[in-house]
């Protein structure tokens, strides 16, 4: 039953990869084997263009409980508890069918977290779409937001934060990255490695159908051009009800100590979960496809092995405990079947009844894929487009309103109100009330904060500086709520790494991520890579999405981002040196270009410590990181959130050499906008800017001074619903 050599190309394997498989097998693979190799040797599973780079990332730290290589990373939060977290992309499925693509993205990341024995306690998401004047972008946004809400709301895990950016390069290849956090008793956590020769392999959850066959390989490794829409395979359909039963079932099984190991079935289905479990445990595994519960009776063995049907988990169980395991599955009305056994053969064997239909060495299948070096070349200039939407000579007031109404800057309330942010009784800070989400952990007597960030436009301008900024922005967001970073996860969304310019972006970005994490002392506990994100116009903006989790001792001592009371002083803390390079204003003026100033990581880290300590001591009424749209937008956001105006003078920034428009709208790392008692703020090294009060946002900035009524600013900032639903403000 061997197959012609042409088949491997359709499955995404190169000729030399195919030859290597033949060499390792000592013969040509049959259909089942070729299908399985093509999945495990795909970019998605083998990280063949990124694995070498990722070795630079620091992964160790005192608080790390689980690092990369497990279903999710985890950090110790005290009292015998750990917080697990991971971010993962579901970009290509979402570009095909945004509702199901985003929904199953949430389902997948939830399974990664409960696979290690942690109960999911929060979801965040990081989304990228094209500009909202495009019907396609509005359709993708609407579908993705509904899909995320549908899955998370139905399963009872709160969605506590995230970010959405709208940029033209994402028009044909939107990004849907979902992050999940879970809480576990450290002693009850379980790894994914299969162990115990003779132990039973149990498949739990939904039955197996033809969903997403060829998905992981074809979807994640092929670039899509114009007119290729029909070639995209069917996306998987999610069933959050099934997942909620599987979740409760798995957690009950783990609490009762009935499982040796547990793994979710994600991309590449049974193939990757069985292969990776065997590889991690240094054992072999036999899977009998005749025992897999099917939705369609006539499925071929290879289809069963590569199916991406959702809501399935694979467990290794001691034979004596199998009846108890099946009884718990029965209680939760979820499927279960004994489909295989752990062996000492070092082989993955696929059987159909008594017949062997595939047999491969575990090592060759899981770790045998060649890893490639990138061939990076720095492009000479700005390789993306520019589109001016602001006329030259626009007044500073109108520039502020245009920035506040920019969908990337505007309030995301329209989106986050479609998500349940309160279920679970942990959410101390709901979306947009503070720079980071804050969740209380009564189990360990403290709280965690979490932030997810990654401004692709700035990374496009300068992959190195932009990536450092993404890490710093997370650190600043955590500092604003008084949290100290414990660990970081990331999702690297890039274009085709075989193209030199994209290879250069990826190379620069990963090096910067490593440098920033090292300098801040934050370990990388997990991550995900999504490559080949391209449309007919070219690659997406390089988008490393960073998710950072921090700890704070007292959930009652958390600053919000909104001003609190008229009369409070407003100050700027940190080494903020704004420029228009890569800013939202530069985008609107059509002036984007290559290059960003290099951030001073150590100085920003020092400012983070000052702000964090001040928040913990209750010294700040509000704290807000200066980000998209610069200081003027940060001031407007803090004012709108409070329903109180402000009066400030940006002379101190001009004294640092900023032009008026740089002081108003320039962007860069290291700026904290804080309010409180003037003496306290100045003792922290804060530069006094003005006071909270009045009903307008009044900003003195030389010849570009601004006075905008609070109501006017608020209508601009709250214009996303109209833009999302009709494309206009």
């Amino acid at each position: 039953m061997t197959v012609g050599t042409a088949k491997h190309r359709e499955l995404g394997l190169t000729d030399s990869e195919f030859e290597l498989i033949v060499e390792k097998m000592g013969r040509e693979p049959n259909v089942v084997e070729l299908a399985m190799f093509s999945l495990l040797w795909s970019e998605h599973c083998a990280y063949k263009h990124s694995r070498k780079l990722l070795r630079q990332l620091p992964t160790e730290g005192e608080r790390v409980v689980m690092g990369p290589g497990e279903n999710a990373g985890a950090v110790d939060v005290g009292n015998g508890y750990a917080v697990a977290f991971k971010v993962e992309s579901h970009n290509h499925p979402s570009a095909v069918e945004p509702f199901q693509g985003a929904a199953t993205g949430v389902g997948g990341i939830l399974r990664d977290v409960f696979a290690i024995g942690a109960r999911p306690i929060a979801i965040l998401d990081s989304l990228r779409f094209g500009e909202l004047d495009s019907i396609r972008s509005r359709h993708l946004l609407d579908g993705a937001v509904r899909g995320i809400g549908h899955y998370g709301n139905s399963i009872g895990v709160p969605n506590v934060g995230g970010e959405i950016y709208f940029e033209e390069p994402y028009e044909h290849n939107c990004l849907v990255n979902a992050m999940c956090l879970g809480l576990a008793k450290t002693k009850d956590m379980v790894r994914a490695a299969a162990a115990g020769i003779g132990n039973t392999v149990v498949l739990m959850g939904a039955s197996t159908g033809r969903d997403g066959i060829g998905g992981a390989s074809v979807l994640a490794s092929a670039e899509l051009g114009d007119g290729d829409e029909a070639k995209r395979p069917t996306v998987q359909i999610g069933d959050p009800f099934e997942e909620s039963k599987v979740l409760e079932c798995c957690l009950e099984l783990l609490e009762k100590g009935l499982l040796v190991s547990l793994q979710d079935l994600g991309a590449a289905g049974l193939t990757s979960s069985a292969g990776e479990m065997a590889a991690a445990g240094g054992v072999g595994i036999d899977i009998d496809v005749a025992r897999v519960p099917l939705r369609e009776a006539d499925m071929e063995p290879f289809e069963i092995m590569v199916s991406e049907s959702q809501e399935r988990m694979l467990a290794v169980v001691e034979p004596a405990r199998v009846p108890e395991v099946l009884a718990v599955c029965e209680k939760w009305q979820t499927g279960s079947a004994e489909i295989g056994v752990v062996t000492d053969s070092g082989q993955v064997r696929i059987l159909r009844g008594g017949e062997v239909v595939g047999q491969m060495p575990v090592e060759a299948l899981v770790d045998g894929c060649p890893l490639y070096d990138l061939e990076p070349a720095e492009p000479a200039g700005w390789i993306y487009g520019n589109r001016a939407t602001l006329a030259a000579g626009t007044s500073a007031e109108n520039e502020l309103l245009a920035l506040l109404a920019a969908p990337s800057v505007a309030s995301k309330r329209w989106a986050f109100e479609q998500y349940d942010s309160v279920v679970g009784s942990r959410t101390v800070r709901r979306p947009e009330s503070a720079d980071a989400a804050v969740l209380q952990l009564p189990e360990s007597g403290n709280a965690i904060a979490v932030s997810i960030d990654g401004n692709g436009r700035r990374v496009a301008c300068d992959p190195y500086a932009g990536t450092i900024e993404a890490v710093l922005e997370c650190a600043q967001n955590l500092a604003c709520v008084g949290a100290e970073p414990l660990g970081l996860t990331n999702c690297l969304n890039f274009g085709n790494p075989e193209k030199p310019a994209t290879a250069w972006q990826l190379d620069q970005s990963v090096s910067a991520l490593a440098e920033a994490c090292r300098a801040l002392g934050v370990p990388v506990v997990g991550g995900n890579v999504s490559l080949y994100n391209e449309g007919p116009e070219g690659p997406i903006y390089p988008t490393p999405v960073v998710g950072m989790v921090g700890e704070l001792p007292d959930p009652a001592q958390v600053a919000g981002s909104a001003f609190v009371a008229a009369g409070d002083a407003i100050a700027l803390i940190g080494p903020f040196a704004p420029t228009l390079a890569g800013s939202e204003l530069a985008k609107q003026r059509g002036e984007l270009d290559k290059g960003l100033p290099q951030p001073d990581i150590i100085a920003v880290a020092a400012a983070c410590t000052i702000v964090r300590d001040a928040v913990r001591a209750g010294g700040l009424a509000s704290a807000h990181d200066v980000s998209d749209g610069g200081l003027a937008c940060a001031l407007a956001e803090s004012s709108i959130g409070a329903g109180i105006g402000c009066r400030v003078d940006l002379q101190p920034l001009r004294d640092r050499g900023c032009l008026p428009e740089q002081a108003l709208f320039g962007e860069g790392s290291g700026g904290f906008l804080v309010s409180g008692e003037r003496g306290v703020l100045e003792a922290l090294g804060g530069v006094f800017l003005g006071e909270v009060g009045g009903t307008a946002i009044e900003i003195a900035a030389g010849d570009r001074s601004i006075v905008v009524g609070l109501g006017t600013a608020e209508s601009a900032w709250c214009s996303l619903p109209a833009q999302a639903e009709h494309g206009g403000t």
Binding site: N153, F241, D420, V423, G424, S425
Partner: protein, 230 residues
């Protein structure tokens, strides 16, 4: 006070409800949907979530569970029952409360802090014949989160009139807070006997100052007070 919180496959807020019951008064335990015996329970909470995935219609399948049969008997004997969100939908489907909950007017799931006006919570004395005006018994507003996609209260006009006359409108959205388009701003209703109440917003998510508000405790306290009086 001994509370029972029902748990169906697909329930989401049952742990939050347990905690709220305990904070309000007494002890609480989960009752699995297959249990037919409520034991010595003094009040029942049917929590929010998506029981049985909300497939077919929200609450349509959960009402046939053994635990719901037990709840129907418990309610018929005068025991206080509180249905929250999906629990309210289940009670309406089971015929223990009048009306139905339809898709929000916006067709979107909405999670938002809303103000509720208590009109006739369970601790308000029932007024057969509706001699007393509902409006006169309005209590202090409660700030409570609502989160649902299908929470637009509906009943035919004559039924709505009867509910008002009988003092069965338990909670109303404050003006400008009726985001789902409910008939006459109704957020919660109670049965004629005055021992079964359902509401769409989630009082169990308003029991901790750290997470936003403690007004939800008053809803649970009203249920406890009804028990004490019975």
């Amino acid at each position: 006070m001994k509370w029972a919180v029902l748990q169906f496959p697909g329930s989401c807020d049952e742990r939050d409800a347990l905690q709220a019951c305990t904070l309000a008064s007494g002890e609480a335990r989960l009752i699995w949907h297959e249990e037919r015996d409520l034991g010595d329970v003094e009040a029942v909470v049917i929590p929010g979530g998506f029981s049985y995935g909300d497939y077919l219609r929200a609450g349509a399948i959960a009402r046939f569970s053994p635990a719901m049969e037990a709840v129907a008997e418990f309610a018929a004997a005068g025991g206080p029952v509180l249905g929250i969100c999906n629990g309210f939908q289940v009670l309406c489907e089971a015929g223990l409360l009048p009306g139905a909950l339809l898709l929000n007017e916006s067709m979107r799931f909405v999670c938002r802090q809303v103000d509720l006006v208590p009109i006739a919570p369970l601790d308000a004395l029932s007024t057969p014949g509706g001699a007393q005006s509902n409006e006169r018994r309005e209590g202090r507003r409660l700030s409570i989160p609502a989160k649902h996609g299908e929470g637009r209260y509906y009943a035919p006009e004559d039924m709505l009139d009867a509910l008002e006359v009988n003092g069965q409108v338990a909670y109303r959205y404050a003006s400008d807070h009726n985001f789902n388009g409910s008939a006459r701003g109704i957020a919660g209703v109670r049965n004629e006997a005055g021992n079964v109440v359902g509401l769409m917003p989630h009082p169990e998510h308003a029991v901790d100052p750290l997470t936003g508000s403690t007004d939800g405790l008053r809803v649970f306290e009203a249920v406890a007070a009804a028990r004490a009086r019975a």
